[in-house]
């Protein structure tokens, strides 16, 4: 216990102090009502995001998004420098997550036909892939060329999604392949590690939610199992029930198979929402909330070891995700209630 307490004391105290600087509930209330990047920027005064805001961030939503992501990335680098050596997998998680974010930016840029400079503007330092490599990726003429440039990197299996991308003409399969690379690699590593049970629980929940998001979206889009199977992480007990019944069951039928799991109730609530709005986002939000709830549980169960760190990382991600949702909403003029609905809660 003392060894655990000692190795995580500094980092835990630091992250708890950082949590003290999270955006307060009262300020969230004000943020929900913001109609422009300038209003949001002024409400970020006194927070950790403020030093990253440039003049352009006051008038351009995209620049404000970048500033928020830069703060998040800088925080990740700071945390990876101080986490104990035994928690090296968390460091890897923090690095790989930024690679995934940057690769997704390039994919969306290629898909949306953005200019190279526009894609490069969105690069956020923080992962293992550096800016020069990222610049080379933005030279890709199309998705095939982009995936080809990833050969000999941990992301080379992204090529599994290219054929389906060309058929469907949307990024779902490529993004699913990218997420699979991230979570599967971490999951295999954490299963073979001793002393990181809590992180294993967190990754396990992330793997389950990754699989559930793909399955529910595929069912909603009427895709057959063989189309999504390459993107599922098979070392997951949830699949034992779901996969054999996938082609026969409808959406409510698949969800009912999750009886005796923590996912049943939130997904049933999301199903009611889905029937009302026909949006698959209700399931994705419910599953994202499950990851946040899991991290909170881990924080409570393991207050001296990895718990506070995992809780902090997930809470920070939630804060950044919600902030980005508010910034993006200024571009599409959503109303206050619609923004609140789209936020991740716990």
């Amino acid at each position: 216990m003392i060894r655990d307490a000692l190795s995580y004391l500094y980092v835990n105290a630091k992250v708890m102090a950082k949590e003290g600087k999270f955006i307060s509930p009262a300020r969230w209330e004000d943020l929900w009502g913001c109609k422009s990047p300038g209003e949001i920027a002024s409400l970020l005064e006194g927070t950790d995001y403020f030093p990253y805001l440039s003049e352009r961030a006051i008038s351009e939503a995209r620049e404000l998004e970048n500033a928020i992501l830069k703060e998040f990335s800088s925080l990740g680098r700071e945390i990876s420098k101080i986490i104990p050596k035994g928690a090296w997998l968390i460091k890897e998680y923090l690095l790989r997550k930024w690679d995934v974010i940057n690769l997704r930016t390039v994919m969306r840029g290629i898909q949306g036909g953005l200019r190279k400079e526009e894609i490069l503007d969105s690069f956020v330092e923080g992962g293992e892939l550096d800016f020069m490599f990222f610049r080379a990726l933005t030279d890709a003429e199309g998705m095939d060329s982009f995936v080809g440039l990833l050969a000999k990197t941990p992301y080379q299996s992204l090529k599994d999604g290219v054929a389906r991308y060309h058929v469907a003409k949307n990024l779902f399969f490529l993004e699913a392949a990218l997420d699979k690379i991230l979570w599967e690699d971490l999951w295999i590593k954490v299963l073979n590690l001793k002393g990181m049970k809590e992180f294993g629980d967190f990754i396990g929940t992330s793997v389950e939610t990754h699989n559930l998001k793909i399955i529910l979206r595929a069912k909603d889009n009427g895709l057959p199992l063989e189309d999504i199977e390459p993107f599922l992480i098979h070392e997951c007990t949830l699949l034992n029930e779901l996969l054999p019944a996938f082609d026969e069951e409808d959406l409510p039928g698949l969800i009912s198979l999750l009886e005796d799991t923590i996912y049943l109730e939130p997904l049933l609530r999301a199903l009611a929402e889905h029937e009302r709005t026909s949006s698959i986002l209700s399931f994705e939000q419910a599953l994202d909330n499950m990851v946040v709830r899991k991290a909170e549980d881990i924080r409570k169960k393991k207050p001296f070891g990895l718990g506070p760190l995992i809780g902090f990382l997930v809470s920070k991600e939630k804060e950044v995700g919600n902030l980005l949702a508010i910034v993006r909403s200024t571009e599409v003029a959503l109303n206050r209630d619609e923004i609140r609905e789209s936020l991740i809660r716990n």
Partner: protein, 161 residues
């Protein structure tokens, strides 16, 4: 000058009282200090509450020091001539020293509680009072240890004899 066995045992009691208390307090203060550095690196304005919480595990060191001084005065090593004391009284002094020394190990738990308290205060400053109360709870057992030692010293005439 040759020391009697009783005096040697009493001096050993003083050494145990101070030595164990110093180790335990050192670990407790160290645990709290590491966490305190984490909090201050993020928010230097929290130095005040952090300092109070870090100081709490030091008190066990003071009890160890007090136990040792009482023994040393009682047998005359401090403040006068060394007394000829029976071996039984020497064992009593050693026992008192062990009680104080061992009960000082509550400082380690107190250090861990203080460290967590610092995190709580850093996150929500209004919890400072509660954090101090929680940390002080661990102190109770060190105080019981010191009281028992004093009772042993009085009962065996090391004090007031």
């Amino acid at each position: 000058m040759e020391l009697s066995m009783g005096v040697i045992l009493a001096i050993m009691g003083a050494a145990v009282s101070m030595g164990l208390a110093a180790i335990a307090s050192g670990i407790g203060v160290g645990l709290a200090g590491v966490a305190g550095a984490g909090v201050i690196s993020e928010d230097p304005r929290k130095f005040g509450p952090v300092l109070v919480l870090q100081a709490l595990p030091q008190t066990q060191g003071i009890y160890g020091f007090l136990g040792a001084v009482l023994i040393l005065i009682g047998v005359g090593v401090l403040g006068g001539e060394i007394k000829e004391i029976p071996i039984g009284m020497g064992y009593a002094a050693l026992g008192g020293g062990i009680v104080v020394g061992l009960s000082s190990f509550t400082a380690i738990a107190q250090g861990a509680i203080s460290a967590s308290g610092m995190g709580a205060v850093a996150k929500r400053p209004e919890t400072f009072g509660q954090a101090v109360v929680l940390a002080v709870m661990a102190e109770t057992f060190a105080i019981f240890g010191l009281l028992i030692a004093i009772l042993i010293f009085v009962g065996s005439k090391i004090m007031g004899g």
